[in-house]
Symmetry: C2
Subunit: 194 residues, 2 copies
DNA sequence: CGTCTATTTGAATGTACTCAAAAGCGGTGG
DNA sequence: CCACCGCTTTTGAGTACATTCAAATAGACG
């Protein structure tokens, strides 16, 4: 049942049996079908989610009604509208499923209690948050100094094998280019490789 | 001596006299002149810094030798090469002073001890890290859906009054455009306003 | 098989870029 | 105090790359 998430946690901290049980007791398992919303703009966000199976995307809808994908999440990634989650406010992001997925939700109040009871989790999430922060910094840097075809190649490295599970127009959106442009970028890369 | 940083801390958590003294005892005050490095690529990074006075920039140097500014920090901002700081590794970023500045450094081991002694600080830095994470997400989103002139206006809002203290070519660099382009952007905005 | 969606291709347009040069500004030394 | 120097910003002209719009092709799914 909880193998995936426990394995993920135990890469950073060690848990004994009691702690494991305490932790899994607050997890809420959720099965989602393709295109189903996990979070929709305006929702109160009281959960953050670990992806055990499947693939989701988080995106914003701008004033023109256009979507902008800020994050993909596949197995072993965490996802939520973190701004809303941490500030206990309403979502400005939408999160929905690219594939049928299974996630474990952790409720904010339960998480706070967990931090008090088992401070190791504080450490766990601080490390996770830190590496997420650093990853975002790198993403900004790569948008400053790289061409779109380099950024596409970076994406392939950062999300290995994910390109087979996600339609190109979503990848284009994530990279901030138009599907037509990504198509030409891919054509160029293929030509160079042959 | 420590008014600025204490005021900053006490916006989020309350400290009694003992805690205040415990905290200030680990701070290392540093005066820096204009253009002086706080962190240089390759340095071991064992401090993070609070800016009490002045203004600094953090930047990466790419393979072509070009600089890319990832962050400015003025009074009440925190700055470091956070990747290197948290992983106790070597800096990939450079940080230097745009103006003569005063910063308070906190050493990593001392900070870890502080977390154990006064868990409120854990909370403080978790909140700070979270809002920094959210700010980076917003910055990525704005690079996805906004024109460079909108991003320039966003910058003016995000760093109020800072544009008077930073040369335009650095702002251009931060925004990921050329100084010539920023000049034209500013001309357009001025024309629209008149 | 037909329909709907995704991807590719083409042609014209636009925005930011490069390179080059001129103008503006600030500080220093004569 | 002014002239000069170095650095920053602006302007101009030509170029490169992604975009828009439109249409054709390819794939996925009932």
């Amino acid at each position: 049942m909880f193998e995936e998430i426990l394995k993920h946690i135990e890469e950073l901290i060690q848990l004994d049996k009691t702690e494991t049980e305490r932790f899994t007791s607050i997890l809420v398992r959720k099965k989602l079908r393709k295109r189903q919303f996990l979070i929709q703009e305006g929702d109160l966000v009281s959960y953050e989610y670990f992806v055990a199976k499947g693939c989701l995307k988080a995106y914003e809808i701008d004033d023109n009604g256009d979507e902008h994908i800020i994050q993909f999440a596949k197995e072993n990634w965490w996802i939520s509208d973190f701004k809303a989650f941490f500030e206990e406010g309403k979502a400005t992001l939408n999160i929905d499923c690219i594939e049928e997925s299974v996630v474990y939700g952790i409720e904010k109040q339960e998480l706070e209690k967990l931090f008090l009871d088992i401070p190791k989790f504080d450490r766990f999430f601080r490390i996770k948050l830190t590496s997420a922060f650093v990853a975002l910094q790198n993403r900004i840097l790569s948008s400053l100094d790289k061409s779109s075809s380099e950024r596409y190649l970076d994406f392939l490295k950062a999300y290995p094998n994910l390109e087979q599970r996600i339609p190109n127009y979503m990848i284009a959106n994530y990279l901030g280019v138009k599907p037509e442009s990504l198509s030409r970028i891919r054509k160029n890369i293929a030509r160079r490789e042959s």
